[in-house]
């Protein structure tokens, strides 16, 4: 066969090959690469979300029940509290809604709806790659005991917590009965370990279907059941105090003689009466203060400007 005749017979072959390979190789590849990138983005968003949720409790309480008692300097409504549900709603708004929607915290962190999806996370067909509402059904966030595989240490901690709480209850009951400021040591919190698992169920991508209009089922895999999952955890709650009055309230819960002052001075100001009858003003409760505590008393070497204590020949040390 001569060359020109052959060329005529092959005319259009390259185009046909290109169309076929483009349809089954190039176009799928062009589609696949962005999807990989989006999957990576989803995975890393899950990692960030899990970390955010767990670490948020390094600065917030799950409930005011986690706060040690006696901190009255700030109104309850202004304390940093985020319930688990609220925090999850907040994290969904931060990480799973259109980025132009802004950051949301606190009151405006309402649960997101199925229609609020990130523009980036769509398949080429326009199909959303995930259902925002489905994230909550497979994710988890909860508070746990301080890690202790032996369970011995945490049990001891828990027992100490219960014992001190019982003493605190007694002291608070006495204080309430006589109208005094409640005291009690309950700063020990055996919990504080927050664990978060965030899982994003990924919708199946659109793919080739049968040529029959009556059958639109995927030709290859019907359900991939892909999830982008990440976990995070961190130990929180360092038992630190919320100020001078809070420290006194907590520490006085370990000073049994503070009860003496409560009982002696209420409802009858017995100390005042005795100090008057015995002509001994030094016995007045403003002087003889049972359970007395001075939180500011500290070695001057631990203060700005420094200093030191000194002891005399009698072994009497002051600063």
């Amino acid at each position: 066969m001569s060359g020109p005749i052959r060329r005529r017979q092959c005319r259009g072959q390259a185009m046909t090959e290109f169309v076929v390979s483009a349809a089954f190789v190039l176009v799928p590849l062009f589609i696949l690469v962005p999807i990989i990138g989006k999957y990576v983005d989803m995975k890393q968003t899950a990692i960030q979300t899990a970390r955010y949720e767990a670490w948020e409790y390094t600065a917030h309480y799950q409930s005011l029940g986690d706060e040690s008692s006696g901190f009255t300097a700030v109104a309850s409504s202004k304390k940093p509290v985020k319930a688990v549900g609220n925090l999850q709603d907040e994290s969904r708004r931060r990480f799973f809604v259109p980025t132009n929607d802004g950051l949301h915290t606190g009151g405006d962190s309402a649960m997101i709806g199925s229609s609020e999806v990130k523009p980036l996370w769509h398949y080429h067909s326009g199909l959303s790659m995930y259902d925002p509402a489905a994230i909550d059904t497979v994710s988890d966030l909860n508070q746990n005991l301080t890690p202790d595989p032996t369970h011995v240490l945490s049990s001891i901690l828990y027992i100490i917590q219960v014992v001190f709480s019982a003493i605190a209850d007694i002291l608070s009951a006495v204080a309430s009965a006589i109208g005094a400021t409640p005291v009690g040591f309950d700063a020990i919190n055996a919990e504080g370990y927050f664990k978060s698992t965030v899982s994003i169920p990924v919708r199946n991508p659109p793919e080739y279907t049968a040529f029959s209009l009556a059958n639109t089922a995927p030709l290859f895999i019907t359900n991939r059941n892909v999830k982008m999952t990440a976990s995070a955890g961190v130990l929180t709650q360092g038992w630190s105090t919320g100020g001078v009055a809070h420290t006194q309230s907590q520490a006085k819960g370990m000073v049994p003689t503070s009860l003496i002052g409560m009982i002696l001075n209420d409802p009858i100001p017995l100390q005042t009466v005795v100090s008057a009858v015995l002509l001994s003003p030094e016995l007045h409760p403003d002087s003889l203060d049972f359970g007395h505590m001075d939180i500011d008393a500290i070695d001057p070497s631990h203060l700005e400007g420094g200093g030191s204590h000194s002891c005399n020949d009698a072994g009497y040390c002051t600063y």
Binding site: V40, P147, G233, L235, E282, S287
Partner: protein, 574 residues
């Protein structure tokens, strides 16, 4: 087209691989951050628990001091009747021996008053002794329990730290492990936190009064000075908060007998001043040369009352053993002052204050027997409870300043008993073990300021390094011409993270601020410890690159083989 397809495939594979590596690295960094933060949180808990218990132990010690003070006050109150009997009995007897019938109008009520005071005083003294004596050992035992709890929790914190570290690695990622570099940094942290030899200045030290080392004694002296500063006004100096005779912050009270209250004291001043202009050097009396003379006179008789309760140590062998002791005195003092200046020269300055005691009391809580015996006072005069001006140890500022105001009361040795014998007699804590053992951070100025001369992982800083082997990191299975050689340094990805436990007591929040407005640094006495992540330093990162990632090549220097040896040693570590 084939080339285009190959490029796109390679791009896809590269994107897939790098996506996995970056995700793994994020999770590994999360694990490292969570691990160091969690361990620092446990250490913050430890330090805060230490602070709470230290404050409680101090308050309980003050409570023991209050009980000792009450006993001393009761002994003092009980001595008033006998003192009145001592002074008035000869007078009353003389009056009763006389023939004037009118004397009985005075002597009978006086004798009744003395008898009532004596009886009531003795009853109160016995009652206070019966109540306070059993309470002292109970409070001391509670303090011992707190001390044990504090030190136990400090040790248990180490186990919690290890468990938390392990748990955080598992919870935040899979397959992470501590690198050799991270392990060394972690060990370095715990060694400096707990003071494992050869570290001799750990971040947290336990102090005991039974130890003889100077650092230990200094630590106990610091605690004693804080306890003394934490006393209530009664223990400090028998502060009178209500009566018009209060001496204010100086403590005690002073009731004028002559001139009788409410008349003022006798104060007389006479002076003659020659008027001389100031440009000639003239001035005002009493210290100017043109003041011919200036004479001042002050006189008052008052019933002075004061006392206090002090925590002191008693030296026993090489040890300093702590003891609570109290003294209460009342004396009828004559206060006389005479000041004479002539031509600006101070010729006479006489100030006398003294008089017979009207009430004396003393008490203590100190172990009375055995090797840890720590008592003050004695059956007779004892230097430990005699003023320094009489050759004793007690300085004028002790016991509320009593030795400086009621001098004769302190020297009293007859009947009723003096301060020394009273303190010796009324020991309501014969088994009192002294100050409890306690933990504290290293002495000032700022224990968390270790920015110079350190390696970066010493407590309170904590640094770890984590690695994940390349084999544990997912990647594409492409081979041949599509195979991607995604090698990681040392066949692993690695991260470092650093945290610290820090102290913050803000002065700009009223409910946090100190009353004196000073900036407070961290110590084991206030629970303001928290955990936070901190930046790694250049040295930290360089060390990690060198040892963990083995990324510093120095082939031409002799340092190279040494580094290789170090890294080989690291490989031997688990």
């Amino acid at each position: 087209m084939l080339l285009s397809a190959c490029i796109i495939v390679l791009l896809g594979l590269m994107l897939f691989n790098s996506g996995i590596v970056t995700s793994e690295k994020m999770q590994l960094q999360n694990a490292a951050d969570a691990a160091v933060y969690s361990v620092s949180t446990i250490e913050a808990r430890d330090l805060n628990f230490t602070a709470y218990t230290n404050r409680a132990m101090i308050a309980n010690e003050v409570a023991i001091g209050q009980l000792v003070g009450l006993m001393s006050w009761a002994a003092h109150f009980a001595s008033v009747g006998p003192f009145m009997n001592l002074y008035f009995n000869p007078i009353l007897s003389a009056l009763e021996a006389g023939t004037l019938g009118i004397a009985s109008f005075f002597t009978v009520p006086m004798r009744v008053l003395i008898q009532v005071l004596t009886s009531v005083g003795a009853t109160i003294r016995s009652g206070v002794q019966a109540i306070t004596s059993p309470v002292v050992p109970v409070v001391a035992a509670i303090n011992k329990a707190y001390s044990i709890a504090q030190r136990s929790f400090h040790l248990v914190s180490f186990m919690f730290s290890v468990f938390a570290l392990d748990e955080m690695l598992k919870q935040n990622t899979d397959g992470a492990q501590l690198s050799g570099f991270g392990l060394v940094a972690l060990i370095g942290h715990f060694v400096t936190l707990y003071g494992i030899p050869p570290v001799d200045n750990p971040f947290v030290t336990s102090y005991s009064q039974n130890a003889v080392e100077p650092e230990q004694k200094a630590g106990m002296e610091r605690l004693a000075s804080i306890v003394n500063a934490s006393r209530d006004p009664f223990s400090m100096n028998r502060y009178d908060p209500v009566s018009p005779f209060s001496q204010g912050a100086a403590g005690g009270w002073s009731f004028p007998l002559f001139p009788p209250y409410p008349l003022p004291a006798i104060d007389f001043t006479a002076q003659i001043e020659i008027p001389v202009p100031s440009w000639l050097g003239g001035g005002s009396c009493p210290d100017a040369w043109n003041c011919l003379f200036s004479l001042s006179f002050h006189f008052q008789i008052a019933m002075d009352r004061n006392g206090g309760t002090d925590l002191r140590y008693v030296t026993n062998g090489n040890r300093q053993l702590y003891n609570w002791s109290a003294a209460d005195t009342t004396a009828m003092n004559a206060h006389i002052g005479f000041d004479l200046w002539v031509f600006g020269a101070h010729l006479l300055d006489i100030a006398f204050s003294g008089g017979p005691p009207l009430g004396i009391g003393g008490a203590q809580a100190g172990r009375a027997t055995g090797a840890q015996r720590a008592v003050v006072g004695g059956v007779g005069p004892d230097p430990s409870m005699l003023p320094d001006f009489a050759g004793g140890d007690v300085s004028s500022e002790m016991y509320g300043g009593s030795p400086g105001i009621s001098s004769l009361a302190w020297l009293w040795t007859g009947l009723p008993m003096g301060v020394s014998q009273s303190a010796y007699t009324y020991n309501i804590g014969r088994g009192y073990p002294g100050l409890p053992r306690y933990n504290d951070t290293k002495p000032g100025p700022d224990p968390i300021d270790i920015t110079t001369g350190t390696l970066g992982f010493e407590a309170p800083y904590l640094m770890i390094g984590l690695i994940k082997e390349s084999d544990n990191i997912g990647h594409s299975r492409s081979k041949g011409r599509f195979g991607l050689t995604s090698e990681h340094a040392a066949d692993q990805i690695g991260v470092i993270s650093k945290s610290e436990v820090y102290f913050s007591r803000p002065n700009d929040l009223s409910y946090f601020a100190r009353a004196d407005g000073k900036v407070e640094y961290g110590s084991g006495f206030n629970p303001y410890w928290q955990a936070r992540l901190v930046d790694t330093t250049y040295l930290d990162r360089l060390s990690a690159l060198l040892i963990q990632q083995r990324q510093l090549y120095l082939p031409s220097l002799p340092l190279g083989p040494v580094i290789d040896d170090i890294t080989n040693l690291m490989d031997l570590l688990p």
